[in-house]
Amino acid sequence: MNKYEEQSNRQIIPRWLSWRAVCQQVPPDASSQSPLAGLVDDVHFARTRARWENERTQVNAADLALSALLSGRLGDTEVGDAIEYLRSLDPDPESTIGLLAAGLTVAGFSPPPSAILDQSTDPRALIARARRVLDSHERDPLLYLDLAYAHSLLMQNVQAERNLKIALSLAPEHPLILRSAARFLLHIAEDNDPDQSLRILRRSGAVRHDPGVLAAEIAISEAFSRRSKNRKLGRSLAFSKNFHPFFLSELAGTIGTLEARHGSRRYARQALEASAVCPTENSLAQLEWISPRVGIEFEVPGDCATEPFEARTRFLFRNQEYAQALSAAVAWAEYQPLSSRPALTASHLASVWLDKYETAIRVLRTALMYSPDSFALRNNLAFALASSGQVDEATAELDKTERLDLDPSDEAVRLATRGLLAFRTHNHEEGRRLYEEAENGFRSLRDRDRNALAKAFHAREELLEGTPESSRIGLDALEVARATGIGRIKAIEFVEKAIGEGGTPQAEE
């Protein structure tokens, strides 16, 4: 099992989400005016109301309800009657009248999300819908973005890239499309090359005035150790009064991270506090990540960010609430299916801290659909399968990693997992040899955490098999574990219990 590897350089890279999910994050007060404001004045409203009073028809009810929405008069008693009238007609919920009937209340307009267009939509349905609408509406860039997103979920990256480029050609300066394109191109880039993403952002005019695009450019540059020429602009725009704090939070968070890395604690604090005023879920996760590093706890409004799965996972993990952290991590993995990090975090929590192997297997199998060449994901899957007794499947999964070029650290991780598989087939000597080879590898890499983890699982396997060496290896594992931060993982609890009782209890599932 690989260790949970905290990011040493987390940056606020835009998420790859459906554009509607991105829009849903915008808080209601982020726009100074509703797009509908100003369309109806007093005279128009009075006339519309009179029409409804005079003739109680569907058209007049809809007109009055809409006019009330447009002019902020939803509390009017006649409007309430009109809304009730519309509801009584039981209109198609996907129709405009149905939207009004379902979404209007005296407090405002909260339409139910479309059944077909939310984040969890089946990608095939999304593609079918987009193609149908494109037949009569062929130059809609967001439809191409829908197509790109849906194809990416189906791992059809060539089609996804093609549609993304069409979206970009139709709206080359649109911040949402630029940020989505930059993120997706990072996802499919060979050798983690950020050049194409950066080129798109830097070529755009929006990078000079849009805080979201500017934040993405600086964050991607920082993540890949590329120098951004826009940092100075970012520092000034991050504190602009011309934008709602929500739209500045990622830029301010990026600048705060940058300042913290450069040791400018005062400026880092200022920028991060600006980011915390009304954070996006991504900047909230950044605050959660950076908070222990800069030693500052940030005050964040409780109801600001929607779907803050990553931030919640980090917070709960940091506070050792592992079961809740796992739930948050599973939600995070569902929210960002194309990212391997949430699945790695969830599988680590499930396998190492909670012995919930079936959860780990489920999350990892989904993540591997999108990142089939990820060694870390496949290794974790092999570990979870073997630990839950599915040795043949585990061996098959680990064998798939043989074609990958691994660095020495991953080579050592694979040796340790091979050791686990050998123990599970009762090949103790081979298992011990493989584990010891892995532990030597970690020692030579000065990786104390992975070494401690390998020793813990090695000891667990020796004890489960009841080998003569189990007590010695168990005591060694306990000593190493105490010196690192893994003293409470399930494997160590098991080793402590087994050695304490002098027996060989069964692993829990």
Partner: protein
């Protein structure tokens, strides 16, 4: 004079007038009289403000009268022109307010709004024929060098046995006869006006741009007939539905969201039309898209767009398209 009409919702032209029902002493026919209303100015206590109101009332009246005179005798079948206009002495008033300036129009049986009472039972043949008549009315006005600029359901009147006519030239534009509203970015009702006008700080650049507003409003009526809301209202409602962060100041930045919302609206229109007249879906959607696309560059005849004549599509294109589709509906070819 028969009676002063209450401010009935169907009655338009409220900028300067009071509506009355009148009956001809010769034929007994009932007409609709719009009289210049000085009362609004009389109620104002501030003399300067009173002067401004008077000036505005007279200017609006003279402008509409000018446009109606231009239409008079031009055989406009689809524009509501007055039967008669003039002045009458009011015995109880004193000079200079003792003259009532008026127009008398034929009394309509209903407005488009009243006919479209209930969207559950759309009379598709009537709806499409009405749209054809409105397109014809717009074409007739454009032929005479007038842009209406305020086409909306309450300005479309139904006359039994004659079909519908376009009414209320109060916001109309005639290049030869400047009016005070010419300087407004949105001359007519904002709820029915093209979306880009909401971002404009200057009036439409030329007469072609003003004629294009009429065509957008024609398309907007089509959405009203089938969905119960104008294209503008429907698009913005779908924008609100997805919580899209509009800038409201940069049209190009907001356009992708508006286009997407228009796609949602077209999808709804398609569903609705398909349930009544599957055979007409393609043609109706084509007209709706050409007339109301949120991007002004994408409106109108695609061939003309390719030739660079953006926004120069004549109303005649839609007269013939709507006539074709209405005829098919009347023949039951649904």
């Amino acid at each position: 004079m028969q009676d002063q009409l209450p401010r009935h919702p169907e009655h338009t032209g409220g900028r300067f007038s009071i509506p009355y029902a009148v009956r001809s002493t010769e034929t007994g026919d009932i007409g609709f009289l719009k009289a210049l209303n000085f009362r609004a100015a009389a109620d104002e206590e501030d003399p300067d403000a009173r002067l401004l109101i008077l000036e505005s009332l007279i200017s609006a009246y003279r402008h509409e009268r000018g446009l109606l005179e231009k239409c008079h005798g031009q055989h406009m079948k689809r524009v509501a022109t007055p039967l008669v206009s003039g002045t009458i002495k009011i015995a109880i008033a004193t000079p200079p307010l003792d003259s009532a300036y008026y127009f008398i129009f034929p009394m309509a049986d209903a407005g488009m709004r009243s006919r479209a009472l209930d969207l559950m039972v759309i009379d598709i043949a009537w709806a499409l024929r009405s749209l054809h008549h409105v397109a014809t009315g717009i074409h007739e006005l454009h032929q005479r060098g007038i842009a209406h600029q305020d086409i909306k359901p309450s300005n479309v009147l139904h006359f039994e046995g004659q079909g519908v006519k376009v009414a209320d030239l109060g916001h109309g534009h005639d290049p030869d006869s400047p009016a005070s509203h010419d300087s407004r970015p949105i001359p007519g009702d904002r709820r029915h006006a093209p979306l880009e006008l909401g971002y404009a700080t200057a009036p439409p650049i030329d007469f072609e741009a003003r004629k294009a507003i009429d065509l957008y409003c024609l398309g907007s009526l089509l959405f009203f007939q089938f969905l119960g809301v104008s294209a503008t209202q429907g698009i913005l409602l779908h924008v609100v539905r997805v919580n899209a962060p509009l800038t409201r100041s940069n049209f190009q930045a907001d356009l992708p969201f508006l286009q997407s919302a228009f796609g949602d609206l077209l999808e709804e229109l398609e569903r609705t039309v398909r349930s009544y007249a599957p055979a007409l879906v393609r043609l109706i959607l084509l007209v709706a898209r050409e007339l109301c696309h949120p991007d002004p560059e994408q409106r109108g005849d695609p061939k003309r767009r390719r030739l660079g004549s953006v926004g120069r599509t004549p109303a005649m294109r839609y007269v013939s398209k709507l006539n074709a589709v209405a005829s098919r509906a009347e023949l039951g070819m649904l």
